[in-house]
Structure formats: structure tokens, C-alpha cells
Subunit: 313 residues, 2 copies
């Protein structure tokens, strides 16, 4: 562990593309990033920070975790004492890979996985608080909830980033609609008839989101090391790269491990069930996009003109 | 619907192999069976009976349910007015296939699947009641709980059928141990070193329990028609047939559909997660039994003699 010099500290800034969690703005405590691709997350004082650090330490040295699964987790560089973003002085920060830094104009979705966010060992109070929110959001009904997102619409329209209250009020219908808008060329204009034209290149294909989710699922069907409560799956990609046919690959990453507990020989059925539900949603969007490409836009309400790749305009 | 004649009623009897639920003994209301392989389940008065009947009616006519999945559900022959077992007079009964009747000395396990037994639309009171029991049993931790069982130990020792209180107190450790004892030749003698000698023929093989569970799982990964809350999976087989090398096939059947609700386009992630957890447990027992067969019983605490098929004596 090292203490950051103030010259180093000056280079730290508020993350531009953080879609959920505490933001380091208005004198509040939140994560910071630097220009070298590192993400500094303040260790929360109630023990959660230390639990997350302990998870990263355990995970990085656990030889039972297969190599092809490690790519779904941010690299951890230990912890560091830094000036906290709220001006409260030096504070331990978890030093992580800044996942977003390799993307220019990332579209990002933060999906909290599981039909419950509490863990069996938690206090009754904590369980009731989580249960109430799990029932109010889509956590119980869908097995996951969207915790935050931003969609890049292009140079002119910029980002669509719904506020926290809007995100927390998403219904099953909204979630399905957002998973379509997320991969549509007309996502930024509030169009309900999302064209899903990027679905084949983002969700589909051998390196697409669906294949990555299926690889993660296969691990969760077998691994009994960890139970990932209240953990998020980030889905991110660069729409501009995709539009230009560049080889930018869509990514999924797991984040937020403050509530990970030992699996003790039991699979994480709570995470796995929610993951399977998300997989079904993503796979439905992909099937629909293929069907609508075949059907020459019959599903679009207005008669449309279809391009060769099935986009409806 | 027909009213049973009293001569017909006289043929009805209390099921010999019912391991969970209300028993039709001591003047209580419970299901009855006849000699023709039918099972008569009284329609519970609080609407649950009618909900279960409605499920069977919907299920039997739903063309979206593939034929290879129907075999995992009892056949339903509608409903019938019968003298109730508690002497309260005529009562509607659901007429079902008596799953157990084709087995001579069945070993049976009733496994309630899902990490929650309540459904989102239920009342707060009902949810709290279920949640309390789900936390007290292995439902939350394992994604399933054993709701009842009987193990046939042979002509001399007969059946081991733990009482309701004992079953409700099963821990994760107990469940793992019972899934081993369930397929062991020394199951009836309270031996902790279960030999799992029947695991390859009951859990394994192309027609074994594991393959059937995997077939069911594949359907649950895709089906969005029903959510099966508080539903049980029966695992049953005839140990004597297996010992004698007969072709009796182990079976799984889903039962108890009073709390099934519409899936509305979402998979039953709660059931699926629990099912995957059970699959992992069964598959662990199977792997262990294969390993111990190779290792010549090194896992057994006492030095043992191994037969050709890997049984440790």
C-alpha cells in the first residue's frame, strides 16, 4: 500500500461514465479515476470496503477460478491511501482496473443480478430493507434489476442517462424495452419502435454479449466457491465503433463485491437464476431482430425501408 | 364430473407411500387412492384447490408444452365429488394419476424447489410466513428443501420415513447426506458412510435421475408460461428392482400446483435456480461414487472390500 503524492492526486478525476452508485460530486464521497486506466473506489467504513478488498484478494489467488472466467472481473491492484473526494482527508481506496477507459463513447448498463439482494446471514432489519426494495423493483419478478445505464445516441444527441428515481421505477415492460433500445440505432430519440439493428453485432456472434453470458452461466452452474449477493453485471460497448464496423468487442464485467459470501459447496442459485433470466431476455431481443430482418420490417408500425443488414428506417 | 357411488368409495384407501402433505388418517382430510392407479386429492376450500385444477386444465391443453415434458407431470382426469376422508360429506377431489402405484417398494423423496416459496402477488402476511419458513429450512440457502422422504431398506428393515419435524430441521449437511443415503445399499442402518452403490444406476445413465433433471432444466431455461411456486419434485425408484438388475426406471414428477402463476414472458428463475442447485448435488454424489469406485474405497473411514461394480462393503 502507498500514499498518493499530491501531484498524483491532482490527476485524479470524477469518472465520466459512472452510471450507478455514489458519485464523487458536490463534495460527496465517491470513486475517482486517473488517466492510466485505474479506478479508485473508497473503502466504505462499515466493513463493506474491507469485505470487497478481501474478496478481490481471495479471488485473485484462488486457483479454482478458471482463466477464461477471470476476464469477467476487473483487475485489482490492491489498496491505496488517497485524499477522499469529499475532502475528509486520507482514505483507503480499492485500486481497480477502470473498465470504461478503453471505450470512447460507451453505452453501459449496470444490471444487479439475483432475485434477492440479501444474504441468509444478514440481520432481520437488513433483510427487510432489501426485500422491500427487491419487491418494489424488478429484482423479485425478473431475477435482476437495472441499477443504472447510459446510451450513447451519437455526436448530436449525446448520452441518455435516466436519473436514479427513473431507473428504480423500471417495470418488466421497461426493462424489455431498454434491452432493445440499448442495441438500436434510434435509441436516443425515445422511439418505442426500437430497430435493434445492432443486436446481431452486440448481443449476437461468437464474441457477443450472449456468448459471454453463456460462458459465465456455465461457470455458475458448477462453482460453489462464492455467492455474489447484490453484485452487478456491467454490459458495455462502443456504438460508434460498431457503426463503423470496427473490431471493438462488447464486454461484460462483474463489479461490486461487498456482499460476497462463501459458497460452502452450494452453487449460487440466486445469481444463476437471475443470470438465466437476463440471458432469456437478451436472446429474445436477438431472435426478434433476426425475425424482423427476415420479415422485412412487418413488425414496425410504420411501413419502413429495410437496408441490406435488416435495419428499418 | 361424476359423483362416486358408495361401492366405488369403499375401494378407496389412504395412500401407503405419501411422504408429505396432509394425511387422510385420524379423521383428517387427505388424499385417497384406488386400485386402478388413481389418486384423489381433496380440493382445498381456500381457493387453492380450484387454482390447482385450473392449472391442470390449462397445462393439459397448452400446445406450447412439449410432449417430452408432459411425462414429468401426473396425468389429470378432472375432478370428482367423493366422500371426504374426514367424514365431512361429499367434496370435490382432483383425480390424478397415482404416480407411486407402479412401484412395489418405492424409495421416494419430495423436494420443494425454489429459494422462495412465495409469489410476488401474495399478501405481506403470506410472504412473511413463507419467508420465515424458507429461512428456517434449506430453501434460502440451497434453493430447495426436502419436504418428505421414505427410503426402502429391504424386507427386514422396511422403510425409513423421518417425521415432519425431523424433515423440517434438515440442514445443508443433512440434505447432502440424505441424497447419498437415498442411493446406498446400507441406507437403512443410519450409516454415515453411505456406499452410494446405486448412484450409477439411479442418478446416472441415459435414463437416470440426472438426465431427467437436465431435460427439465433445459425446458425451464426457455419456458415463460408458468411460474411454479411452492411446487415439489418427486424422485422415486424401486430399490429391489435395481438390486435385481430389473429394468425399472427411476422417475421424477412435479406435483402440487396450487401456487402456480402465469409467467408473462419471464422464465421461472426461482425454480430454475433451485433445480440447478439440486442438479449440482445429485451430480456431486454421482461423481463421488465414480471416484470412490476408482479409488477403491479410500474415502471410506473403515477399510472396505470393493466389489467389481464399485460397491464398498
Amino acid at each position: 500500500m502507498s500514499i498518493a503524492h499530491s501531484s498524483f492526486y491532482n490527476m485524479l478525476k470524477v469518472p465520466e461514465h459512472q452510471v450507478a452508485g455514489h458519485l464523487a460530486i458536490d463534495g460527496k464521497l465517491g470513486p475517482l479515476v486517473d488517466d492510466s486506466g485505474r479506478f479508485y473506489k473508497p473503502l466504505q467504513g462499515d466493513g463493506r470496503g474491507n469485505k470487497e478488498l478481501a474478496f478481490y484478494e481471495s479471488f485473485s489467488s484462488d486457483t479454482r477460478v478458471p482463466d477464461h472466467i477471470r476476464k469477467y472481473f476487473p483487475v485489482c491492484y490492491g489498496s491505496q491511501l488517497l485524499e477522499a473526494s469529499n475532502g475528509s482527508g486520507l482514505l483507503h481506496h480499492l485500486v481497480l482496473q477502470d473498465i470504461v477507459s478503453s471505450h470512447r463513447n460507451p453505452s453501459i448498463m449496470d444490471v444487479k443480478i439475483g432475485s434477492r439482494t440479501w444474504y441468509p446471514e444478514a440481520s432481520d432489519n437488513y433483510i427487510q430493507k432489501c426485500l422491500e426494495k427487491d419487491r418494489r423493483t424488478t429484482t423479485v419478478s425478473l431475477g435482476f434489476r437495472i441499477a443504472g445505464l447510459q446510451l450513447y445516441g451519437g455526436k448530436e444527441s449525446g448520452y441518455w442517462r435516466p436519473g436514479r428515481k427513473e431507473v428504480q421505477s423500471f417495470t418488466v415492460y421497461n426493462v424489455r424495452s431498454i434491452l432493445r433500445r440499448f442495441v438500436s440505432s434510434n435509441s436516443s430519440i425515445g422511439n418505442e419502435n426500437s430497430d435493434c439493428s445492432f443486436a446481431p453485432s452486440i448481443y449476437g456472434g461468437s464474441a457477443g454479449i450472449l456468448e459471454q453470458l453463456l460462458e459465465l452461466k456455465a461457470w455458475f452452474e458448477d462453482q460453489t466457491i462464492y455467492h455474489f449477493h447484490s453484485c452487478s453485471l456491467l454490459i458495455l460497448f462502443d456504438k460508434e465503433s460498431v457503426s463503423k464496423g470496427s473490431a471493438s468487442v462488447p464486454e461484460i464485467k462483474l463489479i461490486d463485491f461487498a456482499h460476497v459470501v462463501e459458497g460452502k459447496g452450494v452453487i449460487d442459485h440466486n445469481f444463476l437464476g437471475g443470470l438465466c433470466s437476463l440471458i432469456k431476455f437478451v436472446s429474445d431481443v436477438l431472435s426478434d431482430s433476426k425475425e424482423s430482418s427476415i420479415k422485412d420490417c412487418v413488425e414496425s408500425e410504420k411501413p419502413g425501408i429495410c437496408t441490406d443488414n435488416g435495419n428499418c428506417q
